[in-house]
Amino acid sequence: MSSIEQTMLSIQNLCVSVEGKPILKGLDLEIKAGEVHAIMGPNGAGKSTLANVLAGREGYEVTDGKILFAGEDIFELEIEERAHRGLFLAMQYPVELPGVNNTNFLRSALNANRVARGEPELDAVSFLKLVREKIKLVDMDEKFLKRSVNAGFSGGEKKRNEILQMAMLEPTLAVLDETDSGLDIDAMRIVANGVNGLRSPDRAMIVVTHYQRLLDYIEPDFVHVLAGGRIVRSGDKSLVAELEEKGYGWLEKEAAA
């Protein structure tokens, strides 16, 4: 029996514009801990907009609606505060931070979150032990720990670095924005394994994707189709096959009607 307390994320009538143009036009969504929700939809539907608004990125104007994250009004929280509360966004285009050592970055981020939650910082030895353990999850070589964040990484390596960070930070709500874009089958499989390895009853995940194939590997509990700025259809994983067969067109027509 699910209760209000277990609702990780509650989005009500979310309306968002970008440079004056409405993109999300009344989006509703409820996500509970332990669930994996997939958000699919045609290009320009607003999938990445949703992901970015959740994380608090600038450039998005919220014109209406409400988002409650673990019962708190998310718009009252700064970007880093949302992270401290357990929100993690695996980015579609992870940036490079030249000169910033990957290990130092991970440790600073981890400790920033711990301190914000009133926990003590992790000492260097314990931290290294943790990193070595988690790096196995994404099948990455330890040499990546010595490099600068994402500098010179291939697309697949960048995405795996995102999952490594997710593994280290242990978020309660993970939003994966087109995590499979730009990846070949093997890289995608590694990423999917990593994500599956992080599923837990305390954690909710939103997998934003354009293509069905990632969902062959990360089987979602719920599938939503975002078209015309709102969720036009929700279902379980069988919806994915239906979309694969019919495309998005029929749903967009329904939405416009």
Binding site: A55, E80, L89, V95, P98, V100, N101, S108, A109, L169
Partner: protein
């Protein structure tokens, strides 16, 4: 003009009348510069005759020169007659009696820079003797150096104890004819550091101006001379991260380094002088001539600098690579924010065969800061197989600042190689968003990215200095974003 001469005459006469040298602590020259001023300074310091003659020749030459105006900096004209060229060192007990009397904002900065309490007291001008036993610290230090045969003292002291050494080397790297400010410095230099490392000696510890903090006020026309004889090594640290104020606006120092066969001199500077207010008024002008000569074969001179202060920084620590197989290095981080301006860089003059030089310049501009890199790489006709690699990177924070590059390359030997790479970047919104989404505050994110940008330079600094420099950068850039 004549009024001040009269005053000077009176002062000089009065001391002879009384038959003893007036206590140095009670004399200050009124503003103005003429030959008598120079005689007064030299006399006050009881300098050997050759020094006075040199000063006077420099002064005469200075009178024939024009102030250079080609730098990419702007400032109101300097009135050289409005400067006092000799001021008495502060009396002990003049300053604040305790930290309670010191500007809390200054203390806040000291704390952020991680400066220990005892050092904070010394920096704030609280009489050092009352604070900690500086005598024993300095004494142990001197003892170790003396055992190694290293000379480390003030120029004034050196002129008394080792006049021949000073005469042999001073002015041999930076002649008083070199430029306007060098001529002025040669004429009126107040004091500075003299270091001499004998043959084959590796100086047992890093030499730092901190250990001379208790000595005479070095003032605005500082003169430093470091000589490393064959096979020797010394690492010298100049400055500190603590913000320093001075009533004197113009700082025109000269630093000369001489390295003989197989010798190595490492010279590191961290400078955080008062940069002026938000409108750019009142800050210090740091116009300094620094040059090292790799006189001997296989010698090596490295300059490493972190410049975050001063209203205007105008300096080109340079290397003359005379000896065969000699090496010159320049690593620099220069930050300009507020209304600061910097025109800084280096000159690498390759004269000997197989000489090598490396230049890594990192410029950071924020708010309205203007940062210019100016570099000269000159390969003279005899520089067979000489090589230079230059990397010049600029980081812009915000959209009101500027970064400018003026590279000069003169190659007169066909076997020489010169490489120049340059990048310009911003701290992007995407980078900040990425860091913040991982839980880091915006300030920590900027600090991390900037330190990453400066890494190559910081790793050349002696470790303690490197840690201080990183903190200094964080403190400097606080509030510079947005």
């Amino acid at each position: 003009m004549s009024a001040s001469s009269d005053q000077v005459d009176k002062l000089i006469k009065s001391e002879y009348e009384h038959g003893f040298v007036t206590n140095i602590e009670s004399e200050t020259l009124p503003p103005g510069l003429n030959e008598d001023t120079i005689r007064f300074i030299s006399n006050k310091k009881n300098e050997p005759e050759f020094m006075l003659e040199w000063r006077l020749r420099a002064y005469q030459h200075w009178l024939t020169m024009n102030e250079p105006d080609w730098a990419s900096v702007e400032h109101p004209p300097i009135d050289y007659q409005a400067i006092s060229y000799y001021s008495a060192p502060k009396k002990k007990g003049d300053g604040p009696k305790s930290l309670d009397e010191v500007d809390p904002e200054l203390l806040d900065t000291y704390n952020k820079l991680g400066i220990p309490i005892e050092e904070q007291k010394a920096l704030a001008g609280i009489a050092v003797d009352a604070v900690f036993d500086s005598v024993s610290v300095a004494t142990t230090f001197r003892k170790n150096l003396a055992e190694a045969g290293v000379i480390f003292c003030s120029i004034s002291e050196a002129l008394q104890e080792y006049p021949d050494l000073v005469k042999q080397y001073m002015g041999s790297v930076v002649s008083y004819k070199d430029n306007f400010f060098a001529a002025l410095n040669a004429a009126v230099f107040s004091d500075g550091t003299f270091v001499f490392i004998p043959k084959g000696v590796r100086c047992p510890m890093e030499l730092s101006t901190y250990f001379r903090i208790n000595e005479a006020n070095t003032g605005q026309f500082e003169r430093t001379l470091i000589v490393a004889e064959a096979g020797s090594y010394v690492s010298y640290l100049e400055g500190c991260t603590a913000p320093t104020r001075d009533e004197n606006q113009l700082h025109a120092a000269v630093v000369e380094l001489v390295a003989m066969d197989d010798a190595q001199i490492k010279y590191s500077t961290v400078q955080n002088w008062y940069p002026g207010d938000a409108e750019g008024k009142g800050g210090i002008y740091n116009f300094v001539t620094k040059r090292g000569e790799c006189r001997g074969d296989r010698s090596r001179i490295s300059w490493t600098q972190v410049e975050t202060g001063s209203a205007i920084t105008w300096k080109y620590p340079s290397c003359i690579l005379r000896g065969k197989d000699s090496v010159g290095e320049f690593y620099s981080v220069a930050v300009t924010k507020g209304r600061q301006q910097a025109d800084t860089g280096t000159k690498m003059i390759h004269m000997g065969e197989n000489t090598r030089s490396t230049i890594v310049s990192k410029g950071i501009s924020a708010q309205h800061g203007q940062n210019a890199y100016r570099g000269l790489v000159r390969m003279t006709p005899k520089a067979e197989n000489a090589r230079n690699h230059t990397q010049c990177d600029s980081l812009l924070i915000g959209d009101l600042c500027g970064a400018h590059t003026f590279p000069y390359m003169e190659v007169r030997n066909p076997t020489a190689k010169v490489e120049h790479e340059a990048t310009t970047s911003k701290i992007s919104e995407d980078q900040l968003f990425y860091c913040r989404q991982r839980g880091l505050s915006e300030e920590d994110a900027v600090s991390m990215i900037v330190n990453g940008f400066c890494k190559e330079v910081f790793k050349e600094l002696p470790m303690e200095f490197a840690v201080e420099a990183q903190k200094l950068l964080s403190v400097t850039l606080e509030g510079a974003v947005g």
